[in-house]
Subunit: 415 residues, 2 copies
């Protein structure tokens, strides 16, 4: 019998407890031993839980119990999860987590502590919920150089964008429905401003390239400025707008990483990922594009990924899993201005020809896009090729100097 | 340094050699040691290969060399790969393979021999080429009960069907183009009759449910009878026709497994998988639907999956990976007649009303489908609900007895 503890009895933590209770046979056949939930850490009381007798409010019970070999951290947030995780790893216990904020912020340090103490720190559930991505990226695609990773990493924003695209619903109304359905929080900032997606692409980038990428260093845009007009232009250009987290290592080793809404060609596998679903594309130099699709959040999908990591730890109690990346203080992130991308630019202007000329001279060939019922003075362009984002910002300034009102600047993904 | 051997220098085997040569740094950082290709087994000469000096025509060189710890078998076919693999495993060497025929036919035995000799037998490349599926299914989804697996497992037939669907091309012409492009072999039987897909679904079913499923016991239909008329009816019903390998365990433990062309709703993720790409949907009781997408064949995608297995073996030289299933002589496959599915039935008849009445009385509610330019005496139906396939076959006989000519009977997938 292997004793485990679960920290946090919210959505994910209670799901972990439920799966361990309801999948006993499956877990036994996977591990060859029984998993026993010895402690559940939560400050609240849950007298109706089948495991009501396992609850504790005292973290010391867990860290000091030598029987506990694996701990599932489902508390979320940085504190006290960060301190608790460090103490558990230093005590030689393996920790598995769904806490993307903690992994994105302190992953390198926690992986090092795990290594120093011959323990494992696993986090399959931190990206893509129930979608297998951490293990496939580190194991199955290990013989590839990863050229690029791009994904729809946040279900809330994908739900909102799907409503806008499929039903012509405005952002505010779509957000309201997402909140009513429990897909968006009362304060939706972390989702709609892209911070959640940023944490996840940082974890994937750190894993794929072996050096920690800190979220604070990553350019992040949300979807709050996306309008139905942009959605229409995208459709007429054969695209849908998705919030994409992506990273790519340029020649010279600089990492081009960011989170932003993007035009995604309808022919891309990522274009067909709708509602709260997530999808992650990994472009390997040998495999070509591989895409992973599924539910990126939710109680049981996320909890099942946590429990899969518990199983893996249980099978590797005295051995290290080779999931690791190094800390990195060096500045290896490409400045946003140097990042190359094709662009869509929508403006209001009295002089469309001047705007066209300004853009073509700054950014090379551009195409003029159309939509029905566009106001007389509205015009939208798409660059035919990738341009430096800094050059595009300069071109935007030049347009403004000509008296144009620049309404939208959205990247066009090569996905 | 870890010495490996590669058996076979065809498409996959030469790719394995190429990746090990061209990805030295990546492999070193994954393993912590260098991989050295000590032998390449092939009866042909390759004087221009950078590894020309490593070639041997004698299997005994490999099996008798104690330095060789991992062998990549990329010979294909049952013989001599079967004997060679057994001898290598008995010598305590780990074997990795892309050989789906061998795994589907002798997987249980070879896994047992590997277990008995503390060696590993891995086969990520045998299903889905470069798409990670074996490891995710056995590890990441380990906390789930797998309710169903369904996949587009053969790129050749998917290419042909895509041509038929997207370009209105006939089967024969599409097959000819597939052959010209090297996607189909001169004798395309194994692909177009579904045998290749059958081997792959057998491997996935064996892995997911822990008991060997033999291809000979699995009902298999190919796509040679699919016509453009069927493609049109499918489109008007909101579906595309795909060759689907699927398995599902029914209550009571009987496995419903088979390969057949199916109507796939356009809303399904599997509907958007086109050309030579593969896609595999795993329906877990916790995760819901998870889909894996990518190139299901080809030199480097498949070879990269083989090399990923080589890495895993190199990291587990003295330890066993827990990928295993037991042999099973018991008859646990649901007879095709008992399998439940919704169905599309197309007939020629002078009495459509009689046909409709026959079908509704036998199969419950049916919908009448349409297509433009259908001949006067043609009619197609879709059952509103799942029916027993045996009942459908009886209904087809009844239609024939009424003088109808039954042209097509195609399953409608709940995917």
């Amino acid at each position: 019998m292997i004793s485990v503890a679960i920290m946090g009895h919210g959505v994910v933590g209670s799901g972990v407890d439920e799966i361990i209770r309801t999948h006993k046979d499956r877990l036994f056949s996977a591990i060859g031993e029984e998993l026993d939930v010895k402690y559940i850490l939560d400050l609240r009381d849950f007298p109706d839980s089948p495991h009501a007798d396992r609850f504790t409010k005292n973290f010391e019970d867990i860290v000091n119990d030598v029987e506990v070999r694996v701990v599932a951290e489902a508390m979320g947030g940085l504190n006290p999860a960060y301190d608790y995780t460090k103490r558990l790893l230093k005590a030689g216990k393996s920790v598995v987590t769904s806490n993307k904020e903690l992994v994105a912020q302190h992953g390198a340090e926690l992986l090092q502590i795990a290594k120093d103490n011959n323990a494992n720190y696993l986090f399959e559930a931190s990206v893509g919920g129930g979608i297998p991505i951490i293990r496939p990226l580190s194991k199955c695609l290990a013989a590839n150089n990863v050229d690029e990773i791009a994904g729809i990493l946040n279900g809330t924003t994908n739900f909102i964008l799907t409503k806008m695209i499929a039903e012509g619903m405005g952002f505010d109304e779509a957000l309201k429905i997402a909140q009513e359905l429990g897909y968006a929080e009362k304060d939706p900032t972390a989702d709609v401003e892209g911070h959640d997606a940023c944490r996840k692409i940082c974890i994937l980038a750190s894993l794929a390239y072996g050096k920690h990428v800190y979220p604070d260093n990553v350019h992040t845009e949300g979807i709050t400025k996306i309008t139905l007009e942009d959605v229409q232009y995208a459709a007429n250009y054969g695209c849908v707008i998705k919030l994409i987290g992506r990273c790519k290592v340029e020649e010279g080793g600089m990492m081009d990483i960011g989170v932003a809404p993007m035009f995604v060609p309808c022919s891309s596998q990522l274009a067909n990922i709708n509602d709260v679903f997530n999808g992650i594309m990994v472009r390997g130099d040998c495999t070509g594009d591989v895409v992973f699709y599924g539910k990126g959040a939710g109680k049981l999908p996320t909890a099942s990924a946590v429990v899969a990591d518990v199983i893996d730890c249980a099978l590797h109690l005295k051995r290290r899993k080779l999931i690791f990346w190094a800390d990195s203080k060096e500045q290896n992130i490409l400045p946003m201005e140097e990042s190359k991308t094709a662009l869509y630019i929508r403006i209001n202007t009295e002089d469309k020809e001047a705007a066209y000329n300004t853009l073509t001279s700054a950014l090379g060939e551009v195409k003029t896009l159309s939509r029905v019922d566009a106001p007389e003075n509205e015009v939208a362009f798409a660059t035919a090729n990738e341009v430096k984002y800094g050059d595009a910002l300069n071109a935007v300034e030049a347009l403004k100097a000509q008296g144009a009102e620049v309404i939208s600047v959205i990247r066009i993904g090569n996905l």
